[in-house]
Symmetry: C3
């Protein structure tokens, strides 16, 4: 149904409205340290409809090799209702939708914890994002504090598709005006926040046998033994593409696309726009995918994820994986599938093979643990995380 | 239905066909000044099917924050038949389809006037573009002239979705060969050109209440008073992405993607490819969207639009808005909606806040009016326009 | 149908699993010279679902001007079941899917031969790729050899959509470990390889008359006479966009997106990532499309295709076409259509017009033939091929 409306013709007005530079406002988004209150829930704006187009573009841009995200026939033959969104895209979108409330004023992302993918996201699903403030740690006047938040991605049926915890470093407000307030909630109550400890994962009914011929022969469950180190051969040079890719997933932090903003910063973040960390994580997973996840049917989740150095356009990123655990999947699923936990490490401007030759076992020691054991941090190391996948058995 | 045809095998031929460099042609497109005849109508080639993919990509690339263009559920809840194309995409496509006839030989785009969006464009709509030559002003031998044209975007049901007027600066033919002629019209008559003065706008039946929680709390109709200046916090660095983005909307002018062409020019346009102005306009609207249009349900149109300085890759653009008018929408629509006219100003390589601090009210004076009042033009100012939006009341 | 599974909580593990840098593997893909055995068939991994999004994006990125690939109404009015994928996209995908087996260790692509497009590819079709090794020519110890392969693109109904032959230069294994082996075939037999000599082409039933007004007036069959040289006016500067575009079509060769890899090479390929040749070919066809293929309804195929110089980001490519043959289409089709064979030549960092003025007929002599006739190769020439199109008659 539509309506036909006649509006007054638009006429030139600017010269008739006197300019008063005092009648000005400067809307700012994100939250300063004082603006985070433990217990508070943010309902993030916009939402995000997953269209097949960006689902495919995401998988390809970040070098995904698992046909589950590239080949619709393959996805259906594996029991999915259609091509699922890659978990990395789900994570990036859910996090990015929250930036406007959570971290647009943050100075750094300190870590990702306890992420769990709980349901597939398909084309035409619309995902909203919610955040609960868990903790605010102040570290003295003039010092940025640390805020712990939990975020949920929820689909149009109000089902949680992803949950994770995150720590961010946030500066105090100082003498700056407050940021844009939240819209009032519908009924004056704090919105529901359906975080689930140890939730069930809703998976398709996978067929007993996989599809032959479309995946690598050396990345079945049986190919992974605890302690294996897998050096992923190819790297990826990140280009200025990262500026548009940041807002493609909904991330509004100017650090990633506003050179004037970046130039005005001091310290490690100053200079060229920094690549949004979620994109770096996605590239590293993609680089690893040919060797570790082509026969994976589900990304269970990840924890202890740290961006240890920033990445900028022109940097080449490369990845290594190390097997931390491998066990049968629970119950009946265990006959054909196992879960494998990998330590994923990213490096920049050095090949993965050279990084291993140069740094050896130090590559796999958490950067934050190094000081305590008298080791130096590795400048070429950009990322570390533990991730767990559900992988088909060769059988 | 298909047919099976056997062709002769293709065999190598180049060595057998003598090269005669005199048997050459150089097809050129666009029109020289003399080739524009007032009254003439160009039916532009190709047409453009709007696919959801590019509709979403456009909204995201240009930093659109209104969920109307990002969240299908939200669009439907607002009465739309699906996700509409963003008005900026409609404008960019309709203009770009016409470049091959209108402006591929133009030296500059002088201004946009009286643009009206008359109907939504949805996924799978195919838009054609038509232009009528209104006026040709010659300014003496060897001088470029000024051509005034009107352009329509028409959908597959022959309904006008957008109309606007544009002035361009065009050089004479000189001793160059003529450009590629138009195809003959079907019946030898000038094609119809259904421009409508003050037309009705075909809008969805909007629900009385908006969708809660997905849009900003400070961009309802009541939030805008005449004279308000709104400084949009974030800028966007434009990268080389603009080269492919130009033809993504169908624009064929080499100034925007051919470095050899650009290097051969003299004057302000020489050097790196210039960003097609329609893209700059789209970025500026996107940068403003979080503060002014998240609760807008229709872009009514714009006028007095001028690109006052060129933008190239590497430049960071930022935006300011000023409220020029705010009034109830006509008839019943006025209960829940009002129209707001904004002056939108773009700057480059300076933050919007710094630009306001540095230039004050001069930012909002039309660049072309400055000479007459003894003011200097502002090098950092790249764009100015008046735009009118239909915005929901908070109620 | 779905199942709800409870997994054990993921806990941090890295510190508990001792790092043993000897327990390492380095998966490598592609094949060294010794690993190619004539008669062998590779079933390539992944497959590739053609989604409308990337079909449109491909057509626009590579400057396609034929509305057949841009305007769904136009495609249907021409008898197609929907918007077909552009032949260049089909070629790029089929070749790229094979890189992991065929050429990820290749040093150079030597030539394309006997390519035939046998059926349209539509949105939602899933294409797999197969390669048969035809010949392996060794050229002495320490020298790279030449491998001749044939590749097929096959749709989900096991119909061949494209076949072509290719020669590649491949180094020997030396003391490097072997590459990742093929997965075993289902039954231990060599997979079928349905190459067809001189196959039938499955075409839509084209309507007798074309669609008026959407295509150029000077690119009908009658406009092309043997010997005509057509200088395509515009060039296209290739940007860093080519890095993501490489994997967008499924190509896994690090030469095209890994600066660390490229920096480690010696010779002509060292330095910045080289643009994957298939993309260069696509841009050149796009640049030519406005002048030669807007009225084409089918790309029949191509042969004798050579990349004679590499292209890197920042280079501007331009194109010229020369008519080598023009004849009526077979049978009834000949009343309204003819086939035209073009020599397509690409140049870089010079306009096509300047290249013709500077090099004259030498531009159209095959680079590999020049030594024998005492001519110098042209550094500015990047590509040459013979391609054959089915083009509508003006009638």
């Amino acid at each position: 149904m539509s309506q036909a409306i006649r509006f007054r013709p638009q006429v030139e007005l600017a010269g008739q409205v006197k300019v008063d530079v005092q009648q000005v406002r400067h809307p700012h988004y994100g939250r300063y340290l004082e603006e985070f209150a433990p217990g508070q829930v943010f309902v993030h704006p916009r939402g995000f409809t997953f269209f097949r187009a960006q689902m495919e573009a995401f998988a390809r841009t970040y070098l995904q090799c698992n046909p589950l995200y590239l080949n619709e026939q393959f996805a259906r033959a594996n029991g999915f209702a259609g091509l699922p969104a890659s978990p990395q895209m789900v994570f990036n979108v859910v996090l990015s939708l929250g930036v406007q409330n959570d971290s647009e004023k943050a100075m750094a992302n300190l870590g990702y914890y306890d992420a769990q993918y709980l349901r597939p996201v398909y084309a035409s699903d619309t995902i909203r994002s919610l955040t609960k403030v868990i903790d605010r740690k102040e570290r003295g006047a003039g010092q940025p504090g640390i805020v712990t938040i939990r975020t949920l991605g929820v689909n149009q049926c109000d089902q949680v598709v992803l949950q994770y915890e995150r720590k961010i470093m946030v500066a105090g407000q100082g003498n700056r005006p407050p940021t844009t307030p939240l819209p009032p909630s519908e009924n004056g109550l704090m919105p529901a926040f359906p975080w689930v400890e140890d939730g069930e994962v809703w998976l398709p009914e996978f067929p007993a046998r996989g599809v032959a011929g479309l995946t690598g022969p050396r990345s079945y469950f049986e190919d992974f033994s605890v302690g294996d180190i897998i050096v992923h051969a190819n790297g990826r040079t990140v280009t200025d593409e990262h500026l548009p890719l940041t807002y493609a997933v909904g991330n509004t932090h100017p650090l990633h696309f506003d050179q004037v903003f970046s130039s005005g910063l001091s310290g490690k973040m100053s200079g060229k726009p920094i690549v949004y960390g979620g994109l770096v994580f996605a590239w590293l997973e993609g680089l690893a995918s040919r060797d570790v996840s082509e026969n994976s049917v589900w990304e269970l989740g990840f924890t202890e994820g740290y961006h240890t150095q920033p990445t900028i356009a022109g940097d080449t990123v490369a990845a290594l994986s190390r097997v931390l655990a491998a066990e049968d999947a629970p119950g009946d699923l265990g006959a054909a599938f196992g879960s494998v936990t990998f330590q994923l490490v990213g490096v920049k401007n050095i090949s993965a093979a050279s990084a291993l030759a140069k740094h050896g076992e130090d590559l796999f020691i958490k950067e934050n643990d190094k000081k305590a054991i008298g080791k130096e941090k590795i400048d070429e190391k950009i990322f570390e995380i533990e991730r767990r996948l559900l992988i088909r058995k060769r059988g």
